[in-house]
């Protein structure tokens, strides 16, 4: 009896997970399938399989837009922002987590307060500030905004993780002759890799996908990122949906691959501390 109840419970959980997976994956599948359809086909049979799996749409994206340039810009901006977030976020978190100093809690709360205010609320002051610094319509301006946006969550995640590392490791390294920087780089950070990966992915996906900040700050076509660049297919009177979906599929591909490659570390990081 108990076993039957248990089995029913597990079955129900599996069912819910399966439904959830379908809900999550369905838009992606539609996007990928639509990438192979013409506009006419799309409107005639939006949910059917495409008539052929030819790469016509993808080829048009590649040839008729500055897709490669947008891809390069997105990669550059995302990579630079993630590097900045990880370097500065980890340094701040390390100091907060491992060194007692007066005002430590205040500094931590200052970073955390960034989690409570959406950066988009500050778009006008941000625009004025970047303008004053001559950073409007530059990739550097975009990167700085993203770093500021990512730091609070990075500090939050990294501080929590670094606090759990045993103090004896750093004491031992210190006795063995390591400088403070060496303790951090050679001993503590390799152990904090799961947290670094979580912080990286958690920030990379929204930055890669961000449409808002490039739309406000970037006007030169050569500096546009992918989400912004792909809007060229959205005309005022007609939109080539097939080509747009092909562009979106290509744009989602790199970050999806990064996620898959790092997901093992990501999951390891998420579950760390669950078992002692």
């Amino acid at each position: 009896m108990v076993e039957r109840g248990e089995r029913a419970k597990h079955g129900l959980i599996q069912l819910l997970l399966a439904i959830n997976a379908v809900v999550m994956l369905y838009p992606l599948v539609v996007m990928v399938l639509s990438a192979f359809k013409s506009n006419a086909e799309l409107f005639a049979s939006p949910f059917a399989l495409p008539e052929s799996f030819a790469f016509t749409n993808a080829a048009r994206v590649w040839n008729e837009t500055s897709f490669v340039r947008y891809l390069l810009n997105s990669t550059l901006v995302t990579a630079a922002a993630i590097a900045g977030i990880l370097v500065f976020g980890t340094m701040a978190a390390y100091a907060i987590a491992r060194y007692p100093f007066p005002g430590r809690s205040a500094v931590f709360l200052f970073f955390l307060s960034g989690l409570m205010v959406p950066l988009k609320l500050a778009i006008i002051p941000l625009f004025i500030q970047l303008g004053a610094m001559g950073l409007i319509d530059t990739r550097a301006g975009l990167v700085l905004v993203y770093i500021a946006m990512g730091l609070p969550s990075a500090v939050f995640i990294m501080t929590g993780f670094l606090r759990t590392l045993p103090g004896e490791l750093e004491e031992s390294a210190r006795i063995e002759g390591a400088s403070e920087a060496r303790v951090m780089l050679s001993i503590m950070l390799p152990l904090a890799r799961p947290a670094l990966v979580i912080t990286g992915i958690q920030n990379a996906v929204p930055i890669w996908n961000d449409f808002f900040f490039p739309l406000v700050f970037i006007t030169t076509d050569a500096l546009k990122t992918l989400p912004q660049g792909l809007t060229v297919f959205m005309g005022e009177y007609n939109t080539d949906w097939g080509v747009l979906f092909a562009g979106l599929t290509l744009a989602a591909l790199p970050i999806t691959l990064v996620y898959i490659v790092l997901s093992r570390q990501f999951i390891a990081g998420m579950t760390q501390g669950a078992i002692k």
């Binding site: 004491e171 006795i175 063995e176 152990l191």
Partner: protein, 350 residues
């Protein structure tokens, strides 16, 4: 190798003082064990020698050099931690070579020193493994190997055996002692286990509530404990204590009387604590009655838990005991081996 001098050292965390003026001299090449119950300040003192805790007052000198304001890495010490503190992402070889790499030693020297340390500790087959792939005893050895390769002036051990099972602990105890006899490096070792202290140390420092209670060779502490705390702490099973008075040349308690040690002048009329180690009782027709409660034969000896009047007493006899629980045996202490302590101060009187 070096001496370690701890002079009037005090330590306070905020307004709470945990060490109240400690003086210890460790001679060159000596194996000194700091022992005491949890919270007595022994680990704090060790961490102060290592430089991991500030010294509130007093001074610590290593090899004649006062190190109060010297960074841990410049004190030329090596420390083995209770949980080993091995770097989990490095192999055994890298763990052992870490300090040498930091000191920018040539690769040939590193390889030679690591090889020799691994050889001494029987770690050669495990050099390319990670700490997680090793057993507790092997991890312990890696931690010691890491200390050995540095060839420091002083080894510091912070309860290094407390995470091991009983059998392995006995084995590692012998290995550490053997290692010290071979390397002759000055060693300060912290433990709460008095058996560990007794079996390994050249000199034991018994600590209690932030004070040093007694310093001496293991058997000196055992034979002539300076006070009640040391008498009760050193020895297993613990010493038997009886509270009573000295009257007309004998110790009297609960209507019974026991013989006084010879060297106890001027105690007549005093309230004292009378101490007898379990193995210093003898079966004697002239002794006093003790009612047997539990018998624990171990083969080599028999431990008897009994009562004299209302006071519980533990005796250990070499001979076989035939008495059953509930029966009386007559026992007497060897007067040359009994201890007298002042009831109020706990200080030894004989």
């Amino acid at each position: 190798m070096a001496t370690v001098s701890i002079r009037s050292v005090r330590k306070a965390f905020g307004s709470t003082e945990v060490l109240h003026g400690v003086d210890v001299e460790v001679q060159d090449g000596e194996f000194v064990i700091l022992v005491g119950p949890s919270g007595c300040g022994k680990s704090t003192l060790l961490r102060m020698i290592a430089g991991l805790e500030n010294i509130t007052r007093g001074e610590i000198a290593i090899g004649g050099r006062v190190v109060n304001n010297v960074a841990p890495k410049e004190r030329d010490i090596a420390m083995v931690f209770q949980n080993y503190a091995l770097y989990p992402h490095m192999t055994v070889r890298d763990n052992m070579a870490f300090s040498l790499k930091l000191a920018k030693a040539p690769p040939a020297v590193i390889s030679d020193k690591v090889g020799r340390a691994a050889d001494i500790l029987g770690l050669t087959p495990y050099l390319d493994r990670y700490p997680r792939q090793l057993s507790g005893g092997q991890r312990q050895r890696v931690a010691m190997g890491r200390a050995i390769v540095r060839d420091p002036q002083v080894f510091l051990f912070d309860e290094p055996l407390s995470n091991l099972d009983a059998k392995l602990r006995v084995q590692m105890r012998a290995e550490i002692k053997d290692l010290h006899q071979r390397l002759k490096t000055t060693t300060v070792y912290v433990t709460h286990d008095q058996i560990e202290a007794m079996t390994m140390a050249d000199k034991i420092v018994v600590m209690h509530a932030g004070n040093v209670e007694q310093i001496g060779a293991p058997l000196e502490l055992y034979d002539r404990p300076a006070n009640l705390f040391v008498a009760g702490f050193i020895g297993s099973p613990a010493m038997n204590f009886f509270k009573g008075r000295v009257e007309s040349g004998a110790f009297r308690f609960d209507g019974a009387q026991l013989p006084l040690p010879r060297a106890a002048p001027g105690v007549n009329g005093a309230s004292v604590i009378y101490g007898v180690r379990p193995e210093h009782w003898q079966l004697s027709a002239d002794g006093i009655d003790a009612v047997v409660h539990v018998l624990e034969p171990t083969g080599s000896e028999t431990q008897v838990m009994a009562r004299i009047a209302d006071t519980p007493v533990v005796c250990a006899f070499r001979e076989r005991i035939t008495a059953q629980p509930g029966e009386s045996i007559r026992i007497a202490p060897d007067p040359a081996l009994v201890h007298l302590f002042d009831e109020k101060t706990g200080v030894r009187l004989n």
